[in-house]
């Protein structure tokens, strides 16, 4: 034990990200958490690679299914590997994450959205209409 281990310390108000909360479980519970996380992540990865090559799903729906699986797997990674939880002592980490997700969504969805509309409104580049000065 040294001064960085604050388990069981009543003054220990917040936890940082990545901090395991297996206070009573110890090594066994810690390993179990990672094994469960690995199992779930492997399952979701296998499903994603399977769906990509299959005809079980309607073609245009495959991309949506893949994104859903990816979001689920990112959730699994956050909970089981990075130990980001919804516990009250994790509020700061969750709020920072929520802000990050907001910015990422604005950048990604916004770019794709705007550029798709821009493409729609432009003339096709090949074949026609040479530009006039």
């Amino acid at each position: 034990m040294n001064d960085t281990n604050h388990d069981g310390d009543p003054d220990f108000g917040d936890v940082g990200p990545g901090y395991m909360e297996t206070v009573d479980g110890g090594i066994r519970a810690g390993i179990q958490g990672y094994v469960l996380g690995l199992f779930l992540a492997a399952l979701l990865t296998a499903a994603a690679f399977y769906i990509e090559g299959t005809h079980l799903i309607w073609g245009p729906g495959i991309a949506v299914a893949l994104i859903v699986l990816a979001v689920a797997q990112i959730g699994v990674h956050l909970v089981f590997f990075l130990h980001i939880t919804t516990a009250p002592d994790n509020t700061n980490n969750i709020l920072a994450l929520a802000f990050g997700v907001l910015i990422v969504a604005l950048i990604f969805v916004g770019s794709v959205w705007i550029m798709a509309h821009l493409n729609d409104n432009l003339m096709p580049m090949h074949g026609a209409v040479p530009m006039q000065p």
């Binding site: 940082g16 990545g18 509020t91 980490n93 990050g100 910015i103």
Partner: protein
């Protein structure tokens, strides 16, 4: 000067372990301190360090989101060159994913060993993590080399420029992570589980797991959706 500083360590802590204390009638400035502003003073060093590193990781992910957005926009701009459907090899991507997912797992196991203060198992966990990370990089470099050999170099089209940018940026992060991993192994070996070393290990764990999260987005958006485009 708030009341919380005037009354350090009062008995109220025992009644509300999480210090939520909402709605005690005192209003603001009364007795309802939000989480993280307890009377125990500032948060412990390792919480502050890990939180700061968490902010860095989130900003890094925002940086990646710009690369992802560029790739999503340019994915069909092949300029008559090869498209992702032709170039991507799902088996290779599956092996890369396996290597990185397992390395994330062993990195977590080394964190469990660190928690148990086992020097040997911490080093073994980090070593396996590093070997799997190198395997990932080798697979990725082979893929890049085969792309260039088949004429699909970054300058061939906007699609390939954005592909090499986003995948290469992740590869550079893995490379940096491997260098960090090597120094962490040396530091743990020489200096032992000192508080500062433990903080660095925690940050390294966060970094390595975050790389795997970015890879999940990568193999989904770039490779799997690209294959079906």
């Amino acid at each position: 000067m708030s009341v919380s500083q005037a009354l350090p360590g009062t008995h109220r802590r025992d009644m509300d372990a999480y210090r939520l204390r909402h709605g005690h009638g005192g209003g603001h400035g009364g007795h309802d301190f939000p989480t993280g502003h307890g009377e125990g003073g500032p948060a412990p060093r390792h919480v502050v360090v890990a939180y700061g590193f968490w902010i860095f990781i989130l900003s890094d992910i925002i940086m990646f989101s710009t690369f992802f957005a560029a790739h999503a926009v340019l994915a069909t701009a092949t300029a008559g060159g090869p498209s992702g459907t032709v170039m991507f090899n799902p088996a290779n991507v599956a092996w890369e994913t396996t290597a990185l997912l397992l390395s994330s797992f062993t990195c977590g196991l080394s964190a469990v060993a660190t928690r148990a203060r086992s020097l040997v198992w911490t080093e073994i966990g980090l070593l396996i993590t590093g070997v799997l990370g190198v395997a990932f990089l080798v697979l990725e470099c082979r893929e890049f080399a085969s792309f260039v050999a088949r004429g699909a170099s970054p300058e061939a089209s906007a699609f390939l420029s954005s592909f090499f940018a986003v995948v290469g940026c992740h590869g550079l992060h893995v490379t940096a992570g491997l260098l960090w991993l090597g120094t962490m192994m040396a530091q743990v070996f020489v200096k032992g589980f000192r508080p500062d070393i433990l903080r660095r290990l925690l940050c390294f764990n966060l970094f390595w797991h975050a790389l795997d999260i970015i890879w999940v987005a990568l193999f989904t958006i770039v490779y799997l959706i690209g294959l079906g485009r």
